[in-house]
């Protein structure tokens, strides 16, 4: 800041930590299966997450088919319907989105973006994946036990979730709880790694305020997850005890089918508090990495530095902090002291401020930019649109008075799918198209990518936008059948059919993506090291795909922030983070 003629930080301070020793795999097994390299772990995480994600997608067809053609499909009875809703929701939120953003992108990108050789504790990192895999296997195994998976809804509210009337009472609910506990244990091992790597293992010159926003988003999400998952962990342990040992943490005395249960004196509301203490931050655990990634996609493909970088960072932090104290807005209908309702409504609406700030900054980054409509950019723009849409309906639902009639209708389903279903999924697609060249050394096909984008984006809109309308009509959520319902006009049934047809088509259209993904492995155009001409560190590795240890003999040294695009006087229109400073240069 002092003298413009002297480039700053010509020589960043010397290394504080000696270079790490890495485990070098000796056999095929330790190289590709029980591998300690974060890049391999990332792919294992992402592969598993996408696989269960496809399962959840198929389950959404089951739900949609029933809603459009009630009773017409023989194998979809009420139990199957509720089991599908539950498994769809839980898999999508926890096992797919959380795992792919933190375990997948976190593992791949954090070490590369901060200039580390690997995560700080690769062995623990590897364990994290294997525990996660076991958790998913336990979850999926509930399809093969008598009674099938639980049908309690992804919120698992007791008392209903552990009463005999709920599908999956015998084993499904137990497996679900055990699987969640395992997931949390596994996640904690990974999450500690992500946080410590960002805090303590950055390369020379990489200050916190020079990290790409992707790293900021994943970092903040990992911190939040470490603080929020304990709520779910405790809730699961206690619910498991209620179910198996007959304790009454959450179970009041009640009569079921004319028979008095042995439960006495527990508090169902306590479960809701614990669950949502996790559940709301969870929304941001998937949203913050998406925010970060989108910022980077927009900046790279619009050849412009991100607008208001520091504001963006502080907004991420503010959102992270605020979202730990708003969980009560999910419990307005459970009844609460009006003062608490007031508190939770105010904090909820307050989150809109930093969130809106981020949206403005994305838009301002695009303003007068050199926008390249590449596939990743299209997905980023698609995210902006769906996210704003979902954010606005969030303001409706944040108000107690509006929420009470709309809660438990399809309006809520439309809202959260827009904001945390479709929006993050679009980012995941965009991120895959963007980083695929680094991961494999080949480009994905742009034409197929664009076709995939338009089908997914327009299709998702066509699926969820009408649901707002159905919700306002009063169509309830989580209803197996409407039967003869006076207030729902016949046209609603037609609309439901339309939605289902589109949902099936969009679902099948994802095969375009998978075709592209696998075909490009072999036939994709060779990408070179930095096809998007991006400035951040992961594109500057000596090899592509990056080798074990990422950086060859010497760790990179960073001289500037990752958004040095369209720099006047630069040899190309961007300056990589590790290129030595030009004379007179003045980037942050």
């Amino acid at each position: 800041m002092t003298d413009a003629s002297v480039p700053q930080n010509v020589a960043p301070p010397p290394a504080e930590v000696e270079d790490v020793e890495l485990y070098h795999a000796h056999s095929w097994l330790t190289k590709y299966v029980f591998c300690q390299d974060a890049k391999v772990i990332a792919i294992q995480y992402a592969g598993t997450a996408i696989t269960v994600g496809v399962l959840a997608l198929v389950l959404s067809w089951v739900i949609r088919l029933q809603l459009a053609f009630p009773g017409a499909i023989p194998f979809i009875d009420a139990s199957v319907y509720y089991q599908s809703v539950t498994m769809h929701g839980m898999i999508m939120v926890v096992y797919m989105l959380t795992a792919i953003f933190l375990g997948g992108f976190g593992n791949y990108l954090i070490p590369l973006m901060v200039g580390a050789r690997d995560m700080v504790f690769p062995y623990v990192n590897m364990l994290s994946y294997w525990v996660y895999l076991i958790a998913t296997l336990v979850l999926v195994s509930s399809y093969f036990v008598p009674g099938g998976p639980t049908g309690a809804g992804w919120t698992l509210y007791p008392p209903q979730s552990i009463l005999t009337g709920t599908p999956g009472y015998d084993y499904g609910i137990i497996l679900m709880l055990v699987s969640l506990i395992l997931f949390i244990v596994g996640f904690t091992m990974g999450g500690l790694n992500y946080v410590v790597t960002v805090l303590q293992a950055r390369t020379r010159g990489m200050t916190l305020m020079r990290m790409p926003l992707t790293v900021w988003g994943i970092f903040a999400a990992a911190v939040m997850a470490l603080l929020a998952f304990p709520g779910l962990f405790v809730a699961c342990v206690m619910l498991l005890l209620d179910r198996t040992l007959g304790t009454s943490f959450f179970m009041p005395s009640l009569v079921e089918l004319g028979e008095r249960k042995d439960y006495v004196g527990g508090s169902p509301i306590l479960f809701q508090h614990l669950f949502w203490f996790f559940g709301h931050p969870e929304v941001y655990i998937v949203a913050l990495p998406a925010f970060g990634i989108v910022s980077d996609l927009i900046s790279v493909h619009a050849r412009k530095n991100i607008f208001g970088y520091r504001m963006m960072v502080w907004a991420i932090i503010a959102i992270g902090v605020l979202s730990m104290v708003v969980w009560g807005h999910h419990m307005y209908v459970s009844g609460m002291d009006p003062w608490f309702g007031f508190f939770f409504a105010v904090t909820t609406l307050a989150i809109a401020v930093p969130t809106a700030l981020k949206v403005y900054n994305w838009v301002l980054t695009l303003w007068h930019a050199d926008i390249h409509f590449t596939t990743p950019m299209l997905f980023a723009l698609g995210f902006l649109v769906t996210f704003v849409n979902g954010g606005i309906t969030g303001l409706y639902l944040g108000n107690v008075i509006v929420d009470v009639p709309l809660s438990a209708t399809l309006f809520v389903v439309a809202h959260f799918h827009m904001v945390m279903g479709i929006a993050p999924v679009l980012v995941i697609f965009g991120a895959i198209y963007h980083w695929y060249p680094k991961i494999t050394g080949r480009m994905m096909d742009e034409r197929l990518g664009k076709i995939h984008f338009w089908i997914t984006f327009l299709g998702a809109y066509a699926i969820f936008f009408p649901m707002h309308y159905l919700g306002v009509l009063g169509m309830p959520r989580r209803f197996y059948e409407m039967g003869e319902t006076a207030f729902v006009p016949a046209s609603a049934a037609t609309l439901n059919i339309v939605i289902t047809v589109i949902a099936l088509a969009v679902g099948f259209a994802q095969s375009i993506f998978f075709y592209n993904l696998f075909r490009s492995l072999k036939y994709g155009a060779p990408a070179g090291g930095n096809p998007w001409r991006a400035a951040s560190l992961e594109w500057q590795t000596p090899e592509t795909p990056p080798g074990h240890g990422n950086w060859g003999a010497h760790l990179p040294v960073v001289y500037r922030w990752p958004y040095a695009y369209s720099v006047p006087g630069a040899p190309e229109d961007y300056l990589p983070q590790n290129a030595p400073p030009m004379s007179g240069e003045h980037s942050p």
Binding site: P13, E21, N193, L227, T247, L274
Partner: protein, 242 residues
């Protein structure tokens, strides 16, 4: 004279506070590391402990909630947790011994850390073994207490003395804490063995991680151990004294 003295002192404390805040800010705006004095392992343990604090807090808050929401009277801790010794009922005696035992183990752990850094391997290893012994004794006494209560008819789902949630919370929370202690004992034994053999001097790679360990691991173990001890103080206060 005195007034002047006071003002300079005041200025000095302000100065140090200011420089400390500036120091923290400088660390956080620097490259490479945000906690300049913490190694990776130590930072990781601290952050894990923060997360674990949330777990224990959720357990304890849940316990308090069910204790307040249940309609039946809560059993009286000083009667339930009393031991018959020589025909006299002494309230909370076992818990007092257990607490004393665990706090002593924190002391021996701290000494072990000190000796480990002084490279007095044998002393450090022995003190860790002593710590592990105290830990094991704690778990043993806990097992004794569980057995006694179970004999008296306390079950997770109910008990003859009052609210069913008493047994539920008791077994769950002390069980979860005892699990922490047991894990600690196991790792203490492993690290004590490594210290005894001098693994950290010769740089022998770890069995699983295949990385070289350092004497710092003793201190990291210590952090965990003190944490488990501290948590016990809270459990003791909220469960046995309330």
């Amino acid at each position: 004279m005195t007034a002047e003295h006071v003002t300079t002192e005041h200025a000095m404390t302000e100065q140090t506070l200011r420089s400390r805040v500036l120091g923290v800010m400088a660390d956080w705006s620097s490259d490479q590391r945000s906690f300049k004095s913490a190694s990776w392992g130590k930072a990781m343990m601290w952050i894990f402990l923060v997360s674990d604090t949330f777990v224990f807090s959720c357990f304890l808050i849940s316990y308090m909630t069910v204790r307040m929401s249940t309609t039946v009277e809560w059993p009286h801790p000083s009667e339930i947790f009393a031991l018959d010794i020589g025909g006299k009922k002494i309230p909370l005696i076992l818990i007092a011994i257990m607490t004393f035992d665990l706090i002593t183990s924190s002391g021996t752990m701290a000494m072990a850390v000190n000796f480990a850094y002084a490279r007095e391997r044998k002393k450090a290893a022995i003190l860790m073994l002593v710590t592990a012994f105290f830990g094991a004794a704690f778990v043993g006494m806990q097992a004794f207490e569980w057995t006694k209560l179970i004999h008296e008819g306390v079950r997770p789902w109910g008990n003859p003395f009052g609210a069913a949630q008493f047994g539920s919370s008791f077994f769950m929370i002390t069980g979860f804490h005892g699990f922490h202690v047991s894990i600690g004992v196991i790792f203490l034994l492993i690290v004590a063995r490594a210290v005894w053999r001098g693994d950290y001097d010769v740089g022998r790679p770890g069995f699983f991680t295949s990385r070289k360990g350092r004497y710092e691991i003793v201190e990291i173990m210590g952090l965990y151990w003190h944490f488990v001890d501290l948590v016990w103080v809270f459990i003791f206060a909220f469960f046995y004294l309330w």
